[in-house]
């Protein structure tokens, strides 16, 4: 089963949809029309491709892990999204959405951010294209990702610390949606993951499809075919959707790795928040639970609807790892390969490392979705 387009109503199987306050429905419909037209327009795609190449540095390399592969007893390859401009895969989506916003005549971008990677990427695209940018970030995340807050401000963005609810990504999304409700006529909501109301889950996956398409070509050249297993971390699930989309029509096993404290697929039941129906961690009354993860970027109680569909149909499976396993993986990759990963993709490596006996002798591709500079302070604090 390949990752195909959703239904016109934005459904992947039973999941997805467009559950937003009435004020935003026309904006979502306009975005759907604009994205369809832009994505079918060769000039738009050329413009995006040249920005991805000449500004963001694509294609990102595929790295063979020599020492770590030997240590784990398998062949590990990394798709190096950490080497993109701004340090993560987030730039792919943001350049696409910023160009689309301009095409729609919207001069202002609003975004939510958890770890700050999507906020930095959005602020970067706004600076590049001369747009206004406002980023909402939970107070807890502002405190644990100070460096990214400074980077966003340096790039000319306004950063608002969100003090409501759990004061993390979930509440930053609430606040970004409230901003959009009030400013929808001149603002584009540059949502950072494959979640939210239709067309976001689909559009954001399409903008990240470049990861999977490149990786598949690179694997064909390097391995003569697909890897046995493709692994990616999953919060909302954008980097996983991007890399999975290159491989769903083949034989490779697809594994999404969630934090134990935010395992929407593992522990959630279907529910609706932030615009779509998907697996969601909620209490017995339907109140959304607060996720708890060391990684601000995965600290989210929901998951993109297409991942719910991939899980339901069995095309991908979703596992979880603990914060301690993640910290060990963070150090492992640093020490053996000279690559300091972000805590988010360290989840993927943590799972590979834990399951190394089951994976023995197999070829495993990990999407290294971001670099770890932003997390060094936090890890330093934990070791002190």
């Amino acid at each position: 089963m390949a990752m195909t387009d959703p239904t016109p109503e934005g459904r992947f199987g039973e999941f997805g949809g467009c559950y937003v306050p009435e004020t935003l429905v026309p904006a979502c419909q306009e975005l759907d029309r604009s994205f369809r037209s832009a994505w079918a327009d060769a000039a738009f795609r050329d413009r995006l491709e040249s920005l991805l190449r000449d500004y963001a540095g694509r294609p990102s390399p595929l790295s063979d892990c020599i020492r770590l592969s030997a240590e784990l007893g398998l062949r590990l390859l990394l798709k190096r999204e950490d080497l993109n401009h701004t340090g993560s895969h987030k730039i792919n989506n943001v350049l696409g959405q910023a160009l689309l916003a301009q095409r729609m005549g919207k001069a202002r971008l609003v975004a939510e951010t958890g770890a700050g990677q999507h906020g930095v990427a959005t602020a970067t695209a706004a600076a590049l294209l001369g747009m206004e940018c406002t980023v909402y970030m939970g107070e807890v995340d502002v405190a644990r990702q100070e460096l990214n807050v400074f980077r966003m401000r340096l790039l000319g963005a306004e950063v608002h610390a969100v003090a409501t609810g759990s004061r993390t990504l979930k509440d930053a999304i609430n606040e970004a949606l409230r901003d959009w409700v009030a400013t929808v006529e001149r603002t584009h909501y540059c949502l950072g993951s494959v979640m939210g109301p239709h067309p976001y889950p689909w559009m954001v996956r399409e903008f990240h499809r470049v990861i999977g398409d490149e990786a598949r070509r690179q694997c064909a050249a390097r391995l003569g075919g697909d890897p046995d297993v493709v692994v990616a971390c999953v919060g909302g699930g954008s980097n996983a959707a991007g890399i999975f989309s290159g491989f769903t029509d083949g034989e490779a096993e697809l594994v999404g790795v969630e934090p134990a404290g935010g395992a929407a697929v593992g522990r959630g039941i279907p529910g609706v928040v932030h615009g779509s129906l998907s697996y969601l961690m909620q209490d017995e009354f339907g109140q959304v639970l607060e996720a708890a993860s060391i990684s601000a970027g995965l600290d989210y109680p929901g998951v993109g609807p297409e991942h719910a569909h991939l899980a339901r149909t069995g095309r991908a499976r979703y596992e979880s790892v603990t914060d301690d396993e993640v910290l060990a993986a963070f150090e492992l990759l640093s020490r053996t390969e000279g690559i300091i990963p972000a805590l988010e993709p360290a989840h993927g490596l943590a799972w590979i490392s834990r399951e190394r006996r089951a994976l023995a002798g197999r070829t495993v591709l990990l999407n290294l979705s971001g670099r770890g500079d932003k997390d060094v302070d936090l890890v330093m604090g934990l070791q002190a």
């Binding site: 306050p21 009435e22 429905v25 409230r178 006529e185 609706v272």
Partner: protein, 265 residues
């Protein structure tokens, strides 16, 4: 449209309109300390119906006041079933409408939630993040249980969309007065009377303006076009500030007198 007999909520608001009276529907967060006496005080002070909020963890259509009220109620242990059971004991003589977010209904199950509303004496329901296109599973259950589903209509909608929303709305049409979330504003947005006028042109259902309507002056201004108003944050703030049901009765009474004075001119 004409073959359908109006439910209790629509009938009450139509009767008010036929009598030359502008409708006043205050909103009160269920589960907030003193909320039931506040509903009684609002009804006694001249409300034509009362919206009772079931708090949700992620209220994206609400501004700071109603967010704070919801957080406080949830922290005090408010649950959907608890609020409905408590509402069942109210005897205020005006229709009650539940206002919440879709996941509360989805989680309980459409039919079970609709039946619970009917059994606890509610006439209608508003689900702030359930737009027309996604509403069919819920409205089927609501219709079957005799619950009137009020739909929101926003300034961003095309004429065609407003007509489609009105055709599916029951009870009344909730005209969103401005681009933004709930909360008090200094003046009534120009969009409030514009959206009310656009709706009045395409529906015979009562049209009530909410979001950004807080003061007697704003209420009378909005009802130069609309059939009534929904007032939330200004009412809930009285409870948050410790003024209790008496405070709620005062603010509703002030709004009532202003609307009646204006209507009789």
């Amino acid at each position: 449209m004409t073959s359908r007999s109006p439910g209790r909520l629509e009938a009450a608001l139509r009767a008010a309109r036929d009598a030359g009276r502008k409708s006043l529907v205050p909103y009160i967060t269920g589960g907030l300390d003193g909320w039931r006496p506040a509903v009684e005080a609002a009804a006694a002070a001249g409300a034509d119906g009362v919206e009772i909020g079931i708090p949700f963890s992620d209220p994206v259509m609400d501004g700071p006041t109603i967010q704070a009220a919801g957080d406080r109620a949830l922290a005090a242990g408010a649950t959907p079933a608890g609020i409905l059971a408590a509402a069942a004991e109210l005897d205020v003589g005006v229709p009650l409408v539940v206002m919440t977010y879709y996941n509360i209904a989805h989680h309980m199950g459409h039919r079970r939630f609709a039946r619970s509303l009917a059994e606890t004496g509610f006439a209608g329901a508003i689900l702030a993040d359930l737009p027309l296109e996604e509403s069919a599973p819920w409205t089927a259950a609501a219709d079957e249980a005799g619950i009137e589903t009020v739909l929101l209509a926003a300034p961003t909608a095309s004429a065609e969309r407003l007509a489609a929303v009105c055709a599916r709305a029951r009870g009344f049409v909730y005209a969103v007065g401005l681009l933004g979330v709930t909360g008090e504003r200094d003046t009534l947005a120009a969009s409030a009377t514009v959206i009310a006028g656009r709706l009045k042109a395409v529906t015979d259902l009562p049209v009530l303006v909410g979001v950004g309507v807080s003061t007697p002056r704003q209420a009378t201004e909005a009802t130069t076009v609309a059939d009534g108003v929904v007032v939330g944050s200004a009412v809930v703030r009285r409870l948050l500030d410790g003024h209790g049901p008496e405070g709620v009765g005062e603010v509703v009474g002030d709004l009532r007198r202003a609307l009646d004075r204006h209507a009789s001119r």
